[in-house]
Subunit: 364 residues, 4 copies
C-alpha cells in the first residue's frame, strides 16, 4: 500500500497541504555516500517555482528546501547521505489569509473537491489542500536526489505542445530549453506560444500541454518483466502528477498505426564492441527492461481547471450553483510540469536501479 509513497527501494513519501505550515517529503532508501547540497536541489525547485514568468501563476513562494535528516553535514554546508531517511521540508510562506466560506462548500468543476468529499467526508478546502499542485514541489526536490543515484544518468524534459500548437521536432535543440519561459526545445515555437498564452491568460482561460522527458545514460538491464516493468513504473509516476491524462513511451500511440517492420528497432555491433540499436521506437525499453538507448516518455496535461468563466456545479448541500475560480492561476499548468515529469522519471529509474544493485551495493 502506498497512498503517498512512490517507489519501493528508493521510496519517496510526500506530505503537506498548500495552506499548512509546511510541505515535505521523506526519501527512504537513498544509498549512502551520495554528496549533495540544498543549493543543487533548490535549482530544480526554482524551475518549478511560481512567478517565474507571466505565463505561470503569480503566487510568490520562496520554496526554500531544507535538509532535516539522513545526511552528514560537511564543512562547506553540503551533505553526504548516510543511507538513513532523508527528510526534506519546504515552509509555506505565501498563505494569504482569506475567506474560504465560498469554496469550502462549492465543488469546482474538474477539480477533486467533489471526489475528496465523497471519499473522506472531510476536505481541507484551503488552497486545494492535498490536491494542490504545491505537493509536487517536494517531488522535484526528491528527484534531485534520484538523479544522483544512477551514475552517468541525465534526465531532461521539454514542452512539445501547447493546445493546438506542437513544436517542430526537426528543430529540436536541448540548448534552447532553458532560454525561454516554456522549456521549449524549438525556438521558433516560442513567439507562437507567447501570443497564444497571452490570449488565453487575458480571457481567464487555460489550455493543456504535452511534455517529453528523456533519460540518457541509463544502463541496459534496468527494470523487470510483468508487473514491475520500467515503463509501467514511469507511466505510474507520470500519471500520479496532477492533471495528467495520458502517458506514452517511445512511439507511444503512434505504434498503433504502424507495421512490425516499421516498428522493430534493428541491432548491430557498435565500433566499441557494444550492441547498438539503429532506431529507438521502443523508447529505450523492451519487455519492461532498459536496452541502453535513451528512455523517452511523454505525458499529456489537461488545461488548468481554475478558469474565470462561470460553470455549473453543485455544493456539498446538494444545491445547484455557479462556480468561477478567482485568483492567481496557471494558464497552462503543463509548463511547470516539466521539472515534475523529470523528477518522476528520475525517481522511477533510481528505484529500479537499486532493485538490481541493492541499496548499498556493498556485497559480492
Amino acid at each position: 500500500m502506498s497512498h503517498n509513497t512512490f517507489g519501493h527501494l528508493f521510496r519517496v513519501t510526500t506530505w503537506g497541504e498548500s495552506h499548512g505550515p509546511a510541505i515535505g517529503c521523506v526519501i527512504d532508501g537513498c544509498p549512502p555516500g551520495i554528496a549533495f547540497s540544498e543549493a543543487e536541489l533548490q535549482a530544480f525547485l526554482d524551475k518549478r517555482k511560481p512567478g517565474q514568468s507571466r505565463f505561470v501563476t503569480q503566487r510568490r513562494e520562496a520554496d526554500a528546501v531544507r535538509v532535516l535528516s539522513g545526511a552528514m553535514p560537511q564543512d562547506d554546508g553540503s551533505f553526504i547521505s548516510t543511507g538513513t531517511p532523508i527528510s526534506l521540508m519546504i515552509e509555506n510562506t505565501d498563505q494569504r489569509s482569506k475567506d474560504y466560506s465560498d469554496i469550502a462548500k462549492r465543488y469546482r468543476p474538474a477539480h477533486a473537491d467533489y471526489t475528496y468529499d465523497v471519499k473522506y467526508g472531510i476536505r481541507d478546502y484551503r488552497g486545494g489542500g492535498r490536491s494542490s499542485a504545491r505537493e509536487t514541489a517536494t517531488r522535484v526536490a526528491a528527484g534531485g536526489l534520484a538523479r544522483k543515484v544512477v551514475p552517468g544518468m541525465t534526465v531532461r524534459g521539454a514542452l512539445v505542445r501547447i493546445g493546438k500548437h506542437p513544436i517542430d521536432r526537426s528543430r529540436w535543440d536541448w540548448d534552447q530549453v532553458d532560454k525561454n519561459p516554456f522549456f521549449a526545445p524549438d525556438p521558433e515555437i516560442v513567439p507562437v506560444w507567447e501570443d497564444y498564452l497571452d490570449e488565453i491568460r487575458k480571457a481567464g482561460s487555460s489550455v493543456g500541454a504535452v511534455i517529453e522527458i528523456v533519460a540518457e545514460g541509463v544502463p541496459a538491464g534496468i527494470g523487470a518483466p510483468i508487473y514491475a516493468k520500467l515503463d509501467q513504473d514511469i507511466a505510474s509516476g507520470l500519471m500520479s502528477i496532477n492533471a495528467v491524462k495520458g502517458v506514452e513511451i517511445g512511439n507511444g500511440f503512434q505504434s498503433a498505426e504502424i507495421t512490425g517492420e516499421e516498428n522493430a528497432d534493428e541491432m548491430r555491433m557498435g565500433p566499441d564492441g557494444k550492441p547498438v540499436f539503429l532506431s529507438n521506437n521502443a523508447g529505450g525499453i523492451l519487455g519492461g527492461i532498459s536496452n541502453g538507448e535513451p528512455i523517452v516518455a511523454r505525458f499529456a496535461v489537461k488545461p488548468t481547471s481554475s478558469i474565470l468563466t462561470e460553470r455549473q456545479s453543485i455544493d456539498s448541500d446538494g444545491n445547484e450553483v455557479m462556480v468561477r475560480t478567482k485568483g492567481r492561476h496557471d494558464p497552462c499548468v503543463g509548463i511547470r510540469a516539466v521539472p515534475i515529469g523529470e523528477a518522476m522519471v528520475a525517481c522511477a529509474i533510481a528505484d529500479h536501479y537499486l532493485r538490481d544493485r541493492g541499496q548499498t551495493g556493498r556485497l559480492d
Copy 2:
C-alpha cells in the same frame, strides 16, 4: 516490491512460462463469500484464447483453468471464496517440441530477448519464456474474480483502431462487440479490418491497435490522491501488458489540445437527488478518485514483433545476424489484448475498492 504481483489488497501474483508444464496465478485478498465457477472464468479465457479466427495466432491451447485453493467447492461444482489465497492453474498443452538452437542465441528485434539476457544473464528462450503473451491468460482468469469484487460493476472493452483504420465512434454499439472477431463496436469497420488484416497476415507482417476499456457502475469515492490514484493504477496495469506503449484516461492526449472551458465536466443534481456530471472528459476520475461516471481508459499496442521479414540483429556472442520469426503468430496482437485490458482495469478497481471497504468489510 512486486516483480510479479499486481495490486495491494486484491493481489494477483502470476507465474509460469509458455513452455513449462503450466502457468498460473495466486489471488490473495479476494473477499470471502464470493460465488464463482471455473466455467465463468473460462468464458473470459476463451475470449483471449488463440485460434479463434484467422486473425489471431493458430496455436491451439485448451487454456482450461483449474481452481486449486481458496474456495469451498459446492455441490454443483461451483465455488465460494473463503478469503484465503485462490490458486488458479492452466496446464500448457501445446508445447511442440522443436529445435530452439537457433533462437536460443539470436536476439529478435523488438523482443525482450536482449534485455532479459542483459538483466539476468540467463533466459528461457523456449517460446519466449516469461515474456510470452501466454502469461496474460492468468491475468484474464484473475480478472474474472476481480469483476465480482465490486458489486454492480461491469467492465467491457472494444478495439477502436487497427493501424491506420480507426472506428467511427458515432456508430458505437456494445452489442456488436461480440459479433465479430475483432471486438469492434462499429459494424462498418469490420470488413475494412478483415481486408486489411488479411493483407498484413499474408505479407507475414503485423500492425498495432488501440483498445478502449469502460468500467460502469463504479461508485464515487474509489481511489486515492497522490501516489495511489485510481487512474495511475489503471495505467500501471495496462502498461504492464506486453507490447503496450501508451495509456490514456478520458480525453487523454486530446486534453492537451483543448481549453479549460471545453474540458471541465459541469455538475447538476440528478432527478434522483444524486449529483450528475454533464460530460465525462475526465473519464470518471478526478484527483485520482472515481466520480461515479463510467471509467474510460485506452491503450495502444504496438505491432507484434514476430514478423517474417528478415531484420538485422545480433546474437549473444556479439555476432551480427539476420533474424526472421517463423511460426504461428498474431498479425495484430491488439485483438487478443481486449479481454486482458478488461482484466487489468477490473483488478485495479477491485484493489482500490477494498482499500476503502477492507477485505472483509465486516467491521463497523
Copy 3:
C-alpha cells in the same frame, strides 16, 4: 520494502537523528474524521521523555510535538484528520556541541556502531545518529493516533521485571502504574527496584527489563492467517524497538512447558449471548486473528550498552582499543520502553483493523 516504515494501511514512516535539527514521522493512512490534539499526543511523549526521574537519562529535551499536515485545525487549536498524511515533527533542542573525534571511530560494544559502518560505509556518530533511542519519540506520537483508530480500544503497559527482580503478578494493580517512576503495577516492588537501580546507576552499570503490554477492547476478527498474523505484526513492532531481544504473546515461552489440556482456553456463551473464553493463555489471538480477549504481549529489553566500565573493542582503522561510555544514560532503558511498546502494539492493531474495515469504511 519498508526500511523506515511500519504498517501497511496505517503506515508510520519515521525520520531523523538525535543530533540533527529535528526528528519526525509521517502517518499515512490514518482514517479521516479523527479528532485529536497536540496536547493528547504530548501526554504520551511525556511518559517517554528523559529526565523524569533519577532512574532515566538526565538529558533535557522538550520533545514538543507539532502537527504539520493532514488535519484541519479547529477553533480550539485541536485537529480533525482529513485522511491525508499527518506529518509530526519534534525539534531537537538539547544537542550539546561537543568533540566527537573519540567515538567517531571507536565501536562501542553492543552498540550498532560497527554494523552501521559495515553496512553503509558511513555513519552519523553524533549521539548515535539514527540508532539513537531518540527515534522512538516519533513512534510514541504516532501511537497516540493509532489508539484512536480502533473505537473502544485501550492499550496499557507495565514493567514486570528489572534484572533479577520480577513483580508479583498477584498484586497487579493498573492504578499503580502511573504512581511510580517505573510503570510498576506492583507497589511492593517499587522500593526494591529503587534500591537496586540506585546501586546500578552509581556503579555506572545498567540492567535489562521485561515489559508487558495489554490491549483491551479489540474486537474479535482482527488479523489474518499465515504471514499477516496479528501476533506476528505485534512481535515485529516490538522487536523493532532498540535493545529488544525477545517477544512473547499470552503464555509465551511458558507454553512450551505445559500440556494441551492446560493450554486450551475453553469457551462458553456469556450472559449477553456472546462467546466468552474461560482463560486467556492465547493472549487474545488464535491463528493470527483476535478472539475478543485482551491481547497480551511481553518483550525483553537488554541492558543499556552505554556503561562506565571499560570494555575491549576496535576502531574503524582496525586498532584494538578500550571503550568507556561517558555522559548521561539510562541505567535501565526498559523503563522508558513502556510507552514505546504501547505505541507499537497500538499501531499494529490499528493497521490490522483497517485491513478489514478499509481506510474510510464508507462503502457498503
Copy 4:
C-alpha cells in the same frame, strides 16, 4: 500488504488447504543462475514429513514437490533459476474422505476455528483448511531455495526443550541432531523425551517445545535499522509459524536479567585481520544488522491443540458443546517445527541479503 506473502525481495507466497487438490508456493525474486534440484528441496520436506516416527502424526503424505516454473531444466533433471517466479506444487494425496458435519460447526478450543469464522464468515473446516500445519510444507520447500541465495550460509535447527525437559547445552553436538527422531543436539535427553512423549501420546495429550535455529556464514552488514531489522524479520517469520507464542534472539529474555557488563560482546582483531567478537550474547545482530557472528534465534511452540480429552466449547450456532479431537495428531508439534523454523530464518536472511546486493547483483 502481504496476507500470504513473506519477504520483500525474496518473496514467498503460499497457497492451499490440507484438503484441496494441492498446496504450493510462488517464490518471486529468487536470483537467476542458482542451480537446484527437486531432490534437494525434497530432502528438507522429508524432515518435516508426517509419519517419520511414533512421535509425530501418522498421516502419510508423499509431500513430493514439483517445480512448475522459473527455472531451466537441465539434462540431468536439475534446474537453474532464471530470475522469474518459481512455482512449487505439492499434491495432496492423503485426503481421507470423511464426515465433517461434526467439526464443521464446533469450535475446537485453542484452534483458529472460531476466529476464522468471525473474520471471514466462512471457513474451510476440512482438515483445518488454511490454518492446517500442512501449509508449512511449502515454506520448507521455499527455504530450500533461500539457503542457496546467500553464498556460504548454513542454517541448522535443533529442539532444545520438550515440556519440562530442556537439553543440557554443555552436551550440544550438531552431529547428533539427525540421529534421533527429535532433532535433539543432546544425546542424553533422547531417552528422557522418548519416555515422556510416549506417556503424553498414550494419554491423548500434547506438550510444547522450544526450537533453536542457528545461521552461520552470514556476512556482516545484512539487515537494516528501525523497521527492517534483521532480527525483527526473523522474529516475524518465526511468529508466522502455527502455534508459535514466543521468539528470542541471542540471549533473548535472559538479557533482561543481566547487566550491561555481562551483556556487551567485546571485540578484538582476529588473526586474519578481521574483527572478532569475544562472545555472542547479541545472537549475531546489532542494531538490526548482522555482525558476522552466528545468528541465533529460538521460538516456543505451544502444545498441539488437538487432544483426546473433552473440553468445553461452543458451536457456530451459539450452543455450548463438548469437543474432543479424534484422529491422527502430533503429541509434540514442536518436533516438526524444526525444519520450518530453519526455512523461515533462511528466507528472512535471503530477503535482507538481496536488499543490499540487489536481485541480480549485476550492476556496479
